[in-house]
Symmetry: C2
Subunit: 159 residues, 2 copies
């Protein structure tokens, strides 16, 4: 399988990875969620090569995850902001960060704490069932073929 075929595979994980399955892309997105908008800010904060950054911003803009807008005309300066589609990647970012907080932070503890503004507390995002509201973990979820399934999509064994 070639990477270019990933978004055609009948798997939503693979399709999402065809857009964001690259470490620099995910770090660019991390910066977007932290409020970074301008090319030079991304460059400085990430220590990323300019051509790599330009490539990732272009791809994210083409995928409608970021939108580019002009904030200054002379000289022309542009900034990048998350679209709704982009903001909807927040759960991916938060769950990646939380796993790192739990398993990779070591004795120093987590670098960032997240505060849920509406309740004012340091928070952790818990994945809960949209139907019953209880937490969901891998053991509590089974899968079945959806409308877009193809044979290769189906699990190796039922869980």
């Amino acid at each position: 399988m070639r990477w270019e075929d990933l978004d055609r595979e009948a798997c939503s994980v693979a399709r999402t990875l065809s857009v964001v399955g690259d470490r620099w892309t995910l770090l660019v997105l991390r910066e977007c969620f932290l409020g970074t908008r301008r090319f030079e800010e991304f460059e400085t904060r990430l220590g990323i090569a300019r051509h790599v950054l330009a490539d990732r911003l272009k791809k994210l803009t083409e995928a409608d995850v970021l939108s580019k807008s002009v904030y200054q005309e002379r000289p022309r300066r542009e900034e990048y902001r998350l679209t709704e589609r982009g903001r909807d990647l927040y759960p991916v970012m938060m769950t990646l960060a939380q796993w790192g907080d739990k398993y990779m932070a070591g004795d120093a503890g987590p670098p960032l704490l997240r505060i849920h503004k509406s309740c004012g507390h340091v928070t952790e995002g818990v994945l809960t069932c949209a139907h019953c509201g209880e937490p969901v973990s891998a053991h509590e979820v089974s899968v079945k073929a959806g409308p877009g399934a193809r044979a290769a999509t189906l699990p190796a064994r039922s869980s």
Copy 2:
């Protein structure tokens, strides 16, 4: 910044990506969550080159995300299972899949439906605040320095 330095950066997203920030790695993990355990099963289902698969399984085992165990002695055959650390990546997998279901499935609809076993319904995982139980989205979360923060960790602007 070199990728080898990512796990030393004071960012939990970057640290997690140093373990799982590779598309093949994430697709191997997808298979693990679908019940795939054996080398040949991974190979067939993913259409992945053997040396790439062997490399990713080795790294995931070294990172204690998968454990390798012998299921047959003669000839010796091994299988890979998620450890607790690995199972804790489920929220990352589920949120990646849900974004793909929402934005990449097209007219065909989602390839897989997830069922919450304890309530029996087709479910979607909603990220909720561990403190107040309300849903959390990017707009509702701000960040502050945690115990493991370094200057470069802090956001570009407060959100």
